[in-house]
Amino acid sequence: MEKRVVFRSAWLPYALVAPQIAITLVFFFWPAAQAVWYSLHLQDAFGLKVQFVGLANFATLFKDSNYLASFKVTALFSVLVAFFGIAISLLLATMADRVLRGAMAYKTLLIWPYAVAPAVAGVLWAFIFAPSIGILTYILKGWGVDWNWIIKGDQAMLLVVIAAVWKQISYNFLFFLAGLQSIPKSLIEAAAIDGASPFRRFWTIVFPLLSPTTFFLLVVNIVYAFFDTFGVIDATTQGGPGQSTNILVYKVYHDGVKAADLGGSSAQSVILMFIVIVLTVAQFRFIERKVQY
């Protein structure tokens, strides 16, 4: 039997999806189209003089070796954020799933960071790791670690990755927990009776059954790392030291909002949009095949 709802009215289904479509049009397609339009123009901050320059803004960007270097930084940052964001929350979710007493309290605490704005998360970690007054800096110093992300690029990267991952763990955790709870207990019990170790049970039963969730989170986390993390960067390293943490989206923010260079910034956001579209399509075409629904 076909599982399909049939509407009798001709217009009702359209009316029902209209709000969703309207929101997408106004908040996604319209700004995206504007970004494309701006990217083809050169204009002063006040929009008094606007000239069509074709692809000149893009040409300027690709001539700039620092912009190209920023791709590498972004790739490293995104892979680290997506990997650790997913791995840590999966670990936490599996552990929280087993807790019987006080489960609510654990879950609430783990979900809490999601309510924190990225900029606040950045400031928080920047304080904890502050070169002279940070509590963790103090501990690290005790262990003989020379912690100074103000001037050490790899430490700065570590800091922004920690802040960005911490912020995203709650979201991932929620989805993993829901995924875990929908796995029938009988499957795991059957495997346990057959003598499979907890480790084996996880990798052969739980993890494959979680694959749709993991795939969804992979896509979401990559998009998060690409687009939503400029608040973390702005509140901590501001792209520095040098350009060690200057990820693409932060440069878009810096050039567009702070420096009022709308043409250059829009060209960058068009490139960024293109990258994320390609990545998402690739993920759906190649990785989704391995997903078991």
Binding site: L42, F46, S132, A260
Partner: protein, 435 residues
């Protein structure tokens, strides 16, 4: 603060009914938070109480960058305020926006408000004037970079507690401080502002061609000169030996010095209030160090801070009010109060003299240093100020390259060459956009 605004609004309403004519409102967007915001509202309230025709309404719009962005967005939407406080690096962007702003000189002339440009301190107003000397924006809060030392640390290292005058002396003192176990010997705030912009003016070398960009948009950076390379190499060498602790691109060094962590610092004159409040240092202020073998050094330093821009598109009647407000702001007693309560420099000669006469400097040693350093010599083409298009990006580029040197990733010469090359690309982009 909100309560005060309401109170002011009620008072305004009272005047309105009593006098039966409308007060013209002047919107002023600013970025002064905390104690500075209170001082700013104090100035506005005084003006409002001094006359009945106009009322200045202040609104805090966040950081300098945020205020400027907000004003640009408001202008694009057709609802710009009359006055907006813009930081010094935004000067070229504002100035180029003919049609979006009204030069202060024109506002004053149109309103027939008496206005003598010679009454102002040249290093302060020069930064915000065109080549003919017409004031484009009104200098509101200006400071400069100064050299701070903590005498306690000097004494502990067996050094005489006097600030070194030259970089040579500074390094000699730094080595002794380090040997005595001082961890953070010297640090700096705002690396580009202190070590490139002020450094250049102080040694009378150009930051860019065309009188540091004041002569036109077709300017180029010159911060890879032998003297710049030598200075940055010296800093890199100090960093390697642990004599210089890098603190970041903004004012993070203020906190380090104020907490008693560092023995010496080159930070804003505006950090003095916080240093006194923290009370953890036996501080002494002095002029910025210089290289004594450079001819003509020390010249004069340049300002940092912000000025008030008049936005276009308002009624002539309202601009009259703006002119009246500027005339009020220029009064010596108003300037003196602003100067003594905030630490920013006075903008007129009369205000400086009045403050001297009041005995304020005798009671508060060091508070006249910013003005004295800014007016150390008559400003040259290299020390009047600077005006580079989109310098928000330009400064970021310089700071990135300096960090590449301090972290040992690049040689000083290569980094400064890159800063010039990348900076010039930004200037060309700005030139093309403002043809």
């Amino acid at each position: 603060m909100r309560f005060r605004l309401i109170a002011a609004a009620l008072a305004g309403a009272g005047l309105f009914s009593a006098n039966a004519y409308a007060q013209t409102e002047i919107q002023w967007w600013h970025s002064m938070g905390g104690a500075l915001g209170e001082a700013l509202n104090g100035v506005a309230n005084q003006f409002n109480a001094s006359q009945k025709d106009y009322k200045v309404v202040t609104s805090f719009k966040g950081t300098y960058g945020e205020s400027m962005t907000a004003a640009i967005a408001a202008f694009r939407a057709g609802s710009a305020p009359h006055l907006v406080q813009v930081f010094e690096v935004g000067t070229a962007t504002m100035m180029a926006a003919k049609g979006a702003i009204v030069p202060v000189a024109k506002v004053m002339a149109d309103a027939k408000e008496p206005f003598d440009p010679n009454a102002y301190l040249p290093t302060v107003t020069g930064y915000y004037s065109d080549l003919k000397g017409n004031m484009l924006s009104f200098p509101f809060n200006s400071s400069t970079a100064l050299f701070y030392i903590d005498r306690n640390k000097f004494k502990a290292a067996g050094l005489p507690p006097v600030p070194p005058k030259t970089w040579k002396e500074l390094i000699a003192a730094a080595e002794k401080l380090k040997a005595a176990g001082q961890d953070c010997v010297y640090t700096t705030g705002w690396p580009s502002w202190v070590h490139i912009e002020n450094f250049s003016a102080w040694h009378n070398v150009p930051i860019g061609t065309k009188q540091n960009g004041m002569g036109g948009f077709d300017t180029q950076f010159t911060v890879n000169s032998p003297l710049h390379v030598r200075h940055v190499s010296m800093l890199a060498d100090m960093a390697k030996k642990g004599l210089f602790t890098y603190a970041g691109r903004g004012n993070q060094a203020d906190g380090k010095f104020q907490a008693g962590e560092c023995a010496m610092a080159t930070i804003s004159a505006g950090a003095l209030a916080g240093t006194i409040k923290a009370g953890k240092t036996d501080w002494e202020l002095s002029f910025l160090p210089y290289h004594d073998d450079v001819k003509g050094a020390p010249q004069n330093s340049i300002i940092g801070g912000a000025s008030l821009w008049v936005m276009a598109g308002r009624k002539p009647e309202e601009y009259k009010g703006v002119a009246k407000f500027f005339a009020f702001l220029s009064r010596p007693e108003v300037q003196m109060e602003w100067h003594t309560s905030t630490g920013y420099v006075p903008i007129t000669k009369a205000a400086y003299e009045l403050t001297q006469k009041s005995g304020f400097y005798a009671k508060n040693p060091g508070r006249d240093l910013p003005v004295r350093q800014l007016t150390n010599k008559a400003p040259t083409e290299n020390s009047k100020g600077l005006r580079f298009g989109n310098f928000v990006q330009g400064r970021t580029v310089i700071e990135e390259e300096l960090e590449n040197v301090f972290s040992g990733k690049k040689e000083p010469k290569a980094a400064l060459d890159d800063a010039v090359r990348r900076g010039n690309e930004i200037l060309r982009q700005f030139e093309a956009a403002n043809k």
